[in-house]
Amino acid sequence: MRIAMFAAAGACALLAACGGSKTSQSNNAQANLREEGRTDPTANTTASNAMVLLAAKPVSGDQAKKVMHERHEGMEATGKAAKGLKRELDKGSPDLAAVRASAAQLANLAQKSSGWFPAGTGPNVGKTGAKPEIWQNPQDFAAKVAAFQKAASAFNAVAKGNDVGAIKARFGDLGQSCKACHDKYRAEMHH
């Protein structure tokens, strides 16, 4: 009796935690993203464009410091905008004007991001969350940057409309494109 009761207690505790629709939504977003990546014929060209940028010219000295500083500020601004957007979109009735402004800002930052990772700006040069793996897998990294830019543009486009459901879905895709890269190429940072 006692064991059955406690087992029931455990099961309920677990139930209390799940059942949130947010998780399944983000899973769908991830699935969509994967599918898009596979079927979209433009994805490859964008990836190689980004790769050209990454491979462009290794930097050193003050130039490297400058890029790393720009990258840090840019990522900080990107995170801040994304967190603001999440807060706004989690509300019952989001302020769409604010969402549009942040969406445009994100799309702009995303375009810049492919210039933030020239060779010579790794952790051996200065304090950074960028892992050396970035420059060991340039093709994969470039594809992830391209996916991020694509997701940011798609989100910016949909944010111009009034379909909050679609805006949230594209924002979910965008988040997954951040995560795909950060999980693999960002080191733990303690400010």
Partner: protein, 205 residues
């Protein structure tokens, strides 16, 4: 059972966040919240040895125990300090987690919307730091169990079975009522759902 679920979920929370499964991490934290709420309620209305009033003692009680003057069942006065510290530290950890948001604007605890974005980032930083405190208490907790085991006294067996060899004259444990447990659980469950919904009037507007 509550104890082992708690231990497993704390381990799972650690593993999931280290491996970037933030959604599982939040889910696990909310489960811990439910268990904590149940344990706090059970500490008031539960079996005699589970009630905080039956085992939490002041400094005098702890000193008496250390001098070998304590005769009783359940948590010792010194063990009670450990119970209170562990429950308190884990509660603080869960509270911080509920208020946290991630660095990228992808995930947020259910109560993050109640405070500003900067405050939520701050909560995450403290949440990360506070886990070290929780870990330290867990290490001390396990060390104590091993210490008693080396002195020939198993604490895990009576914990699991509820049976122990008692000194003559001590009162045995009074079991809790099953329906009180069920109600406590329902309350813990309801409060968790309320928090998941974003608390007061279901989140910020």
């Amino acid at each position: 059972m509550v104890h082992w679920l708690l231990a497993a979920l704390i381990a799972f929370s650690w593993w999931s966040i280290e491996n970037h499964h933030t959604d599982w991490h939040i889910w696990s934290g909310v489960s811990i919240l439910t268990l904590l709420l149940f344990r706090l309620l059970w500490g008031v209305v539960g079996s005699s040895t589970a009630r905080f009033s039956s085992f939490v003692r002041g400094p005098r009680g702890v000193l008496d125990y250390l001098h070998g003057k304590w005769r009783g069942i359940g948590h010792t006065p010194l063990g009670a300090l450990s119970v209170v510290a562990l429950l308190g530290a884990v509660s603080i950890q869960v509270g911080l987690g509920l208020l946290s948001q991630d660095e990228d604007g992808i995930y947020a605890g259910p109560l993050a919307g109640l405070i500003s974005s900067d405050a939520s980032d701050e909560a995450r930083d403290i949440h990360e730091f506070w886990f070290n405190v929780v870990l330290a208490l867990i290490v001390m907790h396990i060390a104590a169990i091993l210490f008693y085991r080396l002195r020939g006294r198993s604490l895990t067996k009576p914990m699991i079975t509820g049976r122990a060899v008692l000194d003559p004259g001590t009162q045995p444990m009074k079991r809790g009522r099953w329906w009180v447990a069920l109600i406590s659980l329902a309350v813990a469950f309801a409060v968790s759902r309320w928090i998941v919904a974003g608390a007061p009037p279901f989140g910020s507007t």
